[in-house]
Assembly symmetry: C2
């Protein structure tokens, strides 16, 4: 089966200078895939020229005259730029010309456009954003990371179902464990929504582990961690900030004086091995779940390696027909909601 990925060629901090080499690398490694590269033809055509023979028929350029800016207001991107590379990539999924879309552009705009163009799956109230984070011994999928605030218990249950199916699809695992992010103070044990969500998840046929706390995310206690998008976003952003502070502090100490600099040179291979182990680039590719189509979001600052990793995730989700899996599961739970 050939999988076609519609790639927003203009999105992200680096645009085509990252997307084009990532696409080339992706196509070389996965001979069953093809790519529709969406964006300004006059920009993309010359960049692809040297590979036109190698990938004849496997890369098509689809011209789109506009670009959604990284900090552009969602309303402007959604209503004002109907010929943006982001929008056209998602349109291609809607039209059945691509099996998945991917963009490194503005997350809010991508979610709004995807939701508007593709619509949510039957039985899903709200789409969610799921990302992968490194853990002590592997990695964990966390959702929602900011698409939804003020979630109700039923939404958290749906996130649990979608997260478990995402792990099954991408990692071919049968019953991934699902944890519900909660807090541990004895007298409160979480807010009402989380308490209700725990009940719903217990009653579901998921492999529900129970409550997890913030530190359990990094311990890899479960395969999936479910939370409200406000909490998930706060945790994700603060983790990024903390990791940056630690990395920056170490760098400063290692360059404080000549002795420290010499030690740094010796320590470089050790530090590099450490970095490889928790390399966030390998975890690139957040999934916009719950839509009638596959959309992946690459980190805006991704390099070609990271963008290619996200493309591989999108291709695997398409191969595994992730939206159909989610729809089928929801139909079992809410047959009335899907008109079955």
């Amino acid at each position: 089966m050939t999988i076609t990925i519609a790639v927003d060629g203009m999105g992200g901090d680096h645009g085509p200078s990252v997307v084009v080499p990532a696409t080339v690398d992706f196509l070389r490694r996965d001979p069953d895939c093809s790519v529709v590269l969406v964006g300004r033809e006059e920009t993309l055509r010359p960049m692809l020229a040297r590979w036109s023979a190698e990938f004849a028929g496997r890369i098509v350029i689809r011209h789109a005259s506009e670009v959604v800016e990284m900090h552009e207001a969602v309303a402007s991107a959604l209503r004002g730029k109907k010929d943006s590379s982001m929008r056209v990539a998602v349109d291609l999924v809607k039209a059945g010309e691509a099996d998945a879309a991917i963009s490194a552009g503005n997350t809010g705009a991508l979610m709004a456009i995807s939701r508007f163009v593709l619509k949510t799956l039957p039985g899903i109230d709200r789409p969610a954003i799921a990302s992968i984070l490194p853990t002590v011994g592997g990695h964990v999928y966390v959702l929602d990371l900011g698409a939804n605030v003020d979630c109700q218990a039923e939404h958290l249950r749906q996130f649990g179902i979608m997260g478990a199916l995402l792990v099954s699809a991408l990692e071919h695992r049968e019953r991934p464990s699902v944890g519900l992010l909660n807090i541990g103070e004895e007298d409160i044990k979480g807010n009402d929504v989380v308490k209700q969500a725990a009940e719903l998840l217990k009653q579901s046929d998921l492999n529900f582990y129970g409550n997890v706390e913030g530190d359990d995310i990094w311990k890899g206690v479960t395969d999936v961690v479910v939370c409200d998008g406000f909490v998930g976003n706060a945790v994700l952003k603060s983790s990024e900030g903390l990791a940056q502070m630690i990395a920056g502090g170490l760098k400063e100490e290692f360059s404080r004086n000549l002795f420290n600099k010499l030690v740094a040179v010796l320590a470089l291979p050790v530090i590099r091995a450490f970095k490889r182990r928790f390399d966030h680039r390998g975890y690139n590719g957040a999934s916009l779940l719950g839509l009638r189509g596959i959309v992946f979001k690459s980190h805006g600052s991704a390099d070609a390696y990271a963008f290619r990793c996200a493309m591989e995730r999108a291709a695997e989700a398409a191969r595994q027909r992730l939206p159909e899996r989610i729809a089928a599961r929801m139909a079992l739970i809410h047959p009335e909601a899907v008109g079955a």
Copy 2:
């Protein structure tokens, strides 16, 4: 003015083996303070014997027959152990025999006991827990860290006021800046409660910075960050977990083989300097704010240095009459609520 601190001598992972040396060190450094050490007299008396001459009259032992366990249910600690060292320490504040209480015990129990014994200040709906975290260039106070979930906008405003007054009292700063933790996705910009809280904080006479995101906590963008206790606890716990994962990963890489171990020996002074810089022990001492009395919580695993730091914070809060400052500010805002 002599400040008397009631110290729960039995709380925390290490009990008196940490509390006693911390108390000795604290009293040596602050000749204007005295301590009532609360706990089992038969345990504490022999441990203090060698310092009885040095601190004659500055350490008093108050016997308490029970101990609240670290994982004991709050109800059991509150209703079942009226002669616990934690309870008696808080009772001493209520009775005016101590200016502040401090415990390294169970946070939930300490908050429940403090709230029950001391009651909240007029105009304060809910007490909050405020902690200090290191930032790139200094430190930041964050509240609430788990005392309240399901906060309303008015609660967040009160947290902002209390947090600002805490910084003023402990650091002698006039108008500390206050940020409201929010998320940045363009189309949502936070939940309804946070949006309303931002309006209330704008209208207040606080030095309100506006919204901050998770990574801004570590960048030290503001002096105070205000959030719901659920979010604050999730961020705090996940940060602890991430820092542990990074530290553990570095340790593993540096001990992977003989060469790495040799590099580690050379790098030790650099790593130590780094650790000192972000030493969480110096930030020990969470404040239970909004009560009619001063209560501080030390981390359960604190060592003597960390516990002493928390004692110093409690003493300074007492010296600055923090509860009176909060009450006075609330009386200006809600004269009707305080019967003025």
